[in-house]
Amino acid sequence: MTDWIGKYYLIEYIQACGWAAVLAVAATLGGVVWAGALFFFTTVFGRIGRVAVAAYVQIFRNTPVLLPIYLVYFGFPMIGIVWPAAVCGCFAITLQQGAYVSEIFRGSYKSIDRNLYDAAQSIGLSGWQIFSKITVPQVIVYSLPSLGSQVVLILKDTSLLSAITVAELMMQAKRTQEATGAIYWPFLMAAAMYLFLTLFIDYFFARAQKAVRWR
């Protein structure tokens, strides 16, 4: 048994899988928070905020995620900010995914029933109360399905961090391949673990959707 585990580098793979999951969770949290901030700018700062956020979203939607990753990893040390590779990667993915998630939020915001706002004003809620009690909860409910598939994309993006020496699943597969000389199974194993993580994400978001529907 132990022989088998040792032969297939199982423990290292599980560690790498954990790292991939941690990176994905960190990038998701960062992306959602940043997207929330962007969304807040658009609702609060009016026209200027809308134009600025739209420009930001367009720029990041039309450039590949590897460019911000390289920008943060190679560029930040030049202006005196030295972060570990994993932090750089997470930060870059956060910047990129913030743009996508803010689009999801915007779409959800549009699908909120406008009568609710009239009702809120008629019972005298303040602007902040309307934002926190009406806008935010409904945006979360409406955007859960698309957020689920976005998180899968974030997980897949973390595999690109192997290009900047972060020790996640893809890196582990490469390393195992170099160590053993085996052709297929290092990458097939990585693929299987990514599929497992995807299943978990799908399950989590299905549960979350049920939970909010119940309320």
Binding site: T63, Y70, L160, A191
Partner: protein, 224 residues
């Protein structure tokens, strides 16, 4: 970064564009074959389609590309990095294209097919005059989105050694450490390519809508 580097970036962007155009073509052909599976009467083939979608959706493109490279090597097929990269990209994006086509077919209301039956149109004419035009119009906006994703996705091939725009910019950075200029130039090139693609798509969309049918279809769906 000097003018030589800029010329190198532009040359590399040519490779990126060629790769993505190839991948869009290959991915669309593969996707059409996959969609045939999805709409086949056999349960087993439908199940195979779903498994394919699930696997390609859940695995990072980098891993798929690596597996394609290794399989080609394992079968001792030597076709060079560009063709291997093209094949990998085609496989990665075939699932997205297939879902777009499938969605466009599902969006056609059942009544359209009923009326073709009541007119006793031959199957080939139904395909040529009804199904394909409708799928083209319904599927165009998401299709263009996936095309933009393909252009961006071609950058991942740089990680496994295909020389294109991202690889070239990394090369320049490693040579003269002009991180910001080089990356902004590369980003600008990607942005221009994707933006033009997006505009072209919008243009085509409005032109198709002006001919009338997509709009009618949307109304018909509301009446159902």
């Amino acid at each position: 970064m000097n003018s030589n580097d800029l010329i190198m970036l532009l040359k590399a962007s040519g490779y990126s564009i060629t790769l993505s155009v190839g991948a869009i073509t290959g991915g669309t052909i593969l996707a059409t074959l996959l969609v045939l599976l999805a709409f086949s009467p056999s349960r087993i083939l439908q199940f195979i389609y779903r498994v394919c979608m699930w696997v390609i959706r859940g695995t990072p493109w980098l891993v798929i590309a690596m597996l394609v490279f290794l399989s080609l090597h394992g079968m001792s097929i030597r076709i060079g990095r560009y063709y291997a990269g093209w094949l990998a990209l085609s496989i990665c994006f075939s699932s997205l294209f297939a879902e777009v086509i499938r969605g466009a077919i599902i969006a056609i209301p059942e009544t359209v097919f009923d009326s073709t039956k009541s007119l006793a149109l031959p199957r080939l004419i139904v395909l040529r005059k009804v199904l394909i035009p409708l799928v083209l119009r319904q599927g165009l906006p998401p299709y263009i989105n996936v095309c933009v994703m393909t252009v961006k996705g071609s950058s991942i091939l740089s990680v496994i050694g295909v020389w294109e725009l991202t690889y070239a910019s990394r090369e320049i950075i490693e040579r003269n450490l002009t991180v910001f200029q080089t990356l902004f130039a590369a980003a600008a090139i990607y942005f221009v390519i994707c933006f033009i693609l997006d505009r072209l798509g919008r243009n085509l969309e409005t032109r198709l809508a002006a001919r009338g049918f997509a709009h009618d279809l949307a109304e018909g769906k509301q009446n159902d």
